[in-house]
């Protein structure tokens, strides 16, 4: 859940929708950038995005570790096919293109709050789906907490699901029966409760959607 927690609390004043469009444009621009000059320009644009969106630079660099493995595979494949010098150059250019294709997504994850994104998405999404999505967003932490409680209760019952015991594959069955099944059942019951609660509050009765502003009159 790094992406959720590490979003800067003092994010920039730029609207969430604009950040999404900006990062997606940068990502798409990577497809068209095939020369060292355009890739250099794209690098500067990404740096500019990090500064403008007030993203934490060090955390972004840490997340970029994943690219090293991908870049090595691409460069090696190019060297094997085209030889050392031309293969290395083309492979490296393509690896950089690959990095600049994925980097804006990481910048976005560190620069936008879930509320900003949800507000932007509600403009382009049906209300029904927006409601389900907002419930899911709201219940992520509750679900995680419930999973933790089930896990601890099952450990007390003697289930072999501690991290040390799970090193043995023979104990993996306990993980399914003692943690996964109760979690799925809990998900079902929670969905039932929320749907009852929503219907009892006249959800989806009227054509025009209304939103509670969060304050009692």
């Amino acid at each position: 859940m790094i992406s959720v927690s590490s979003v800067s609390s003092k994010s920039s004043k730029i609207p969430g929708g604009l950040k999404i469009i900006g990062c997606m444009s940068l990502s798409i621009a990577a497809f068209a950038s095939r020369t060292p000059y355009t890739l250099g320009l794209l690098f500067l644009c990404n740096i500019l995005a990090i500064i403008l969106f007030n993203s934490p630079f060090i955390e972004i660099v840490k997340e970029c570790k994943f690219f090293i493995f991908q870049c090595i595979i691409i460069v090696l494949l190019y060297i094997l096919k085209f030889g050392w010098a031309p293969g290395f150059k083309s492979g490296l250019l393509l690896s950089l293109q690959f990095v600049f294709f994925l980097l804006p997504g990481i910048i976005l994850s560190h620069s936008i709050t879930p509320a900003q994104t949800a507000k932007s998405l509600s403009l382009v999404m049906p209300h029904y789906l927006a409601f389900v999505l907002s419930v899911c967003l709201h219940f992520i932490h509750i679900l995680l907490e419930e999973i933790r409680e089930i896990y601890e209760a099952q450990l007390l019952r003697g289930a072999k699901i501690s991290s040390k015991e799970l090193m043995k594959p023979s104990n993996w069955k306990d993980l399914i029966t003692c943690l996964l099944i109760p979690t799925i059942i809990y998900g079902f019951s929670m969905a039932r409760q929320i749907s009852f609660a929503a219907k009892s509050r006249a959800f989806n009765i009227y054509q025009k959607r209304t939103y509670w502003n969060g304050h009692y009159e």
Partner: protein, 180 residues
Amino acid sequence: MNNLNNLSKRKHLEYLLFLGFCAVFIFITKALLRLHLNIPGHSLFFLIFFLMLSKRCVPLSYSASICAILAGLLAVIFGMGKGGPLIMLKFVMPAMMIDFLSYMMPSFDQKYVTCMFVAALAASTKFISSIIVDFLLGMDIQIMMYHSLIKSCGAVFFGILGGLMIPPVTSRLKAYGIID
């Protein structure tokens, strides 16, 4: 979506919310695994499992696809950056395959072999999504094939493992009266 009309609005909402929770589980497992493992395709294990489970538990025509769309939207909202703009494709393509195959084999969850088959085909869509990305980047065709093949091999392996979990889980859920 004909069977939607036969369902009450509350039941419909309940099913959608359950699909939403499956999407949350997909998102959580994908986010957690991303932090600890660097094996290609490992995230397909839970993705395939929850997509197949949502298909089995919710009697809607496109339940796996709806679950995948919700998971994709969550990934977009939290900016799980490895997919760029094509991240939705990574979720939706296996789901569409599961929906299609479940239409062809309605009782796929009852045998391990059919579960493996459905899971393998669903996970193999990673090859297509990988090809699309590499093609748009202008990669050489032969290298594009090798690169996508390396990525999709791991995905198929973990997808099959995820699919193998379906028969025991559904039999348990049947025993608890959660599904018919």
